[in-house]
């Protein structure tokens, strides 16, 4: 095989793969701008004849999509901020502070990574009920305030902080809290950005636990709202596509803007070995 043919083949395959990967996303955007009923035709139309925002209007005015969007923003932001604070503190302590029982405790945190979250869901539901956290934003936020994965990620990164730096500050009489805020946090900034994006995307896309704990439409996040719409309006293709766009677009844009950090976190997190 000559290099020219090989080059054409490799790039051709990459283009083909890209078309398959992006087509459903681009098509979703296109159909969301079509008139009701327009997409159900043969051959399936690729572009709207007359682009319209009718479906979006319908979703925001009648289907309460704006409310779901706010719920999603609220829940995902709260989870991101709170879990970032808790995971960073714990990850740093595991990496850099010596205390009795550290290794055993860290091992049990890593062990939790192997347990699927769904095992905990039924008893968790029963626990949260008397606390008044069922059908409440708190029911989604509180259990997500710390994650074994986040602690693990921060700990791996924080191990790179030189001990001499911390010792020197202690010699100068700096307290542990002061050292954490003034010296450690600035050094952990890159991993904090990574973890924040990762957590936000996971919280935004989460489905099963919110479906269980948010029992009323009032507290639905976008995926729940969309899934319930999909069961009622299965035949309104264009309307459902607009709903999918509203759900996917925020996270897709966030990823595109911050992809370097996101992919770095993915690689760091996969080196569990």
């Amino acid at each position: 095989m000559t290099p020219r043919i090989a080059k054409a083949l490799i790039n051709g395959l990459l283009i083909g793969g890209t078309v398959v990967a992006l087509f459903p996303i681009v098509w979703m955007l296109s159909v969301s701008l079509m008139q009701p009923g327009e997409a159900s035709a043969l051959p399936p139309p690729l572009l709207p004849a007359h682009a319209t925002l009718h479906n979006y209007q319908e979703l925001f005015l009648r289907a309460g999509m704006g409310h779901y969007l706010l719920n999603s923003l609220l829940v995902s932001t709260a989870i991101t901020m709170l879990s970032l604070a808790l995971n960073v503190m714990a990850g740093y302590a595991f990496a850099k502070l010596r205390f009795a029982g550290r290794d055993a405790l860290f091992k049990s945190v890593v062990g939790m990574l192997a347990i699927p979250a769904q095992v905990a869901m039924l008893p968790l539901f029963l626990m949260l009920k008397p606390l008044g956290l069922v059908n409440n934003y708190g029911g989604v936020i509180v259990p997500a305030m710390a994650s074994a994965f986040g602690i693990f990620l921060v700990r791996q990164y924080a191990r790179g902080i030189p001990d001499e730096l911390l010792e020197a500050a202690r010699m100068d009489g700096a307290g542990e809290l002061h050292i954490f805020v003034r010296i450690v946090l600035p050094l952990l900034k890159p991993i904090m950005v990574t973890l924040a994006i990762y957590t936000f995307l996971t919280a935004w896309n989460d489905f099963m636990w919110p479906l269980i704990v948010l029992t009323g439409q009032n507290h639905y996040t976008l995926p729940l709202g969309l899934a319930s719409l999909a069961r009622e309006h299965a035949t309104d293709t264009e309307l459902m596509m607009a709903g999918s766009v509203i759900t996917v677009l925020p996270v897709l844009l966030l990823f595109l803007a911050m992809q370097r950090y996101y992919l770095e976190g993915l690689l760091l997190g996969s080196v569990k070995g």
């Binding site: 790039n11 503190m89 905990a120 039924l122 008893p123 259990p143 999909a230």
Partner: protein
């Protein structure tokens, strides 16, 4: 404040959250699975009885549980190798020195991973539509008769597998690409001097050097695929004829639709045990392979 105290202060919030809202419920799940917790117990705890292992015993005699387990295993056994193969091919293409615009292709191929399962599942439901769906339209172009993807019990699970591969392959692609980039280029240079073909280089350098990464990716993918839930919930609602009811789908219905929380906990625990056993076996087999 000495260092011991500081350490515990830093750790306490996260450890308490994980302990109370994760570890405790996991232990509770086992306890719950030994009871007959149902709607009556939910109303009044006095109705709760200890039933030892009878939830497990009942499950093992229930055809729907075996069907759900069968569907899940089908999804794992067909979906994971297909998913890994696509990821590996994409990573190899991206790694090739002949590929152009690598950053663009990498981002584009990864994009499905960050999308919301529910939203893109809704999109794919229309792609799979028998009459107006694009998939049948494209297949019609090469002379294949329309397939009733979501209405035929034989085709519903393959449709879900196709969707899952599309959604997930980018994740492993990134990890495998990093693995490929970590292989020292001297190995390839030496092989080229010895006159080894591209195919032989791939077989004798790339694959063996990539084996540990492949094993890790395989284990993570298997445990992820065992947790099939949102896809059938949105695309097929478990149908047609319950052909896409997965173990977690059954657990959800059992627990939160019919409120048999004891029996649902037993389902969750059995899934956990199966996942644990499978990944442990893979790890052992993989280690043996590496040593040999």
């Amino acid at each position: 404040m000495n260092r011991q105290h500081a350490a515990w202060l830093f750790l306490a919030p996260a450890v308490i959250v994980l302990g109370v809202f994760f570890l405790l419920p996991v232990i509770g799940a086992f306890a719950l699975s030994l009871t007959d917790y149902d709607l009556y117990a939910l109303a009044d705890l006095h109705n709760l009885r200890f039933v030892a292992l009878s939830n497990y015993w009942a499950l093992l005699h229930r055809p729907l549980f075996w069907a759900a387990l069968g569907h899940t295993v089908y999804f794992v056994v067909a979906g994971v190798p297909l998913s890994m193969l696509v990821s590996l091919c994409a990573a190899l293409l991206l790694h090739s020195p002949l590929a152009r615009c690598k950053a663009f292709f990498r981002t584009a191929l990864f994009a499905p991973v960050v999308t919301t399962v529910v939203a893109v599942a809704v999109v794919w439901r229309y792609v799979f539509n028998t009459k107006y769906g694009l998939l049948n339209y494209v297949l019609g172009g090469i002379g294949i008769h329309p397939v009733d993807w979501l209405g035929d019990p034989h085709w519903a699970m393959p449709a879900i597998i196709l969707f899952a591969v599309w959604k997930n392959f980018g994740y492993n692609m990134i990890i495998l690409l990093a693995g490929l980039q970590a292989i020292p280029s001297e190995l390839y240079e030496a092989a080229r001097i010895d006159g080894a073909s591209t195919w032989r280089q791939c077989r004798h350098i790339t694959l063996p050097m990539l084996a540990p990464t492949l094993l890790m990716v395989g284990i993570l993918t298997v445990s992820g695929y065992f947790q099939l839930f949102a896809e059938p919930y949105v695309i097929t609602e478990g149908g047609p004829l319950q052909s896409t009811v997965s173990v977690l789908y059954l657990m959800y219905n059992e627990g939160f639709k019919w409120w048999n929380l004891g029996s649902a906990s037993a389902i969750a625990f059995l899934l956990f045990v199966i996942m644990f056993a499978v990944t442990e076996l893979m790890l052992r087999a993989g280690r043996k392979e590496v040593q040999a």
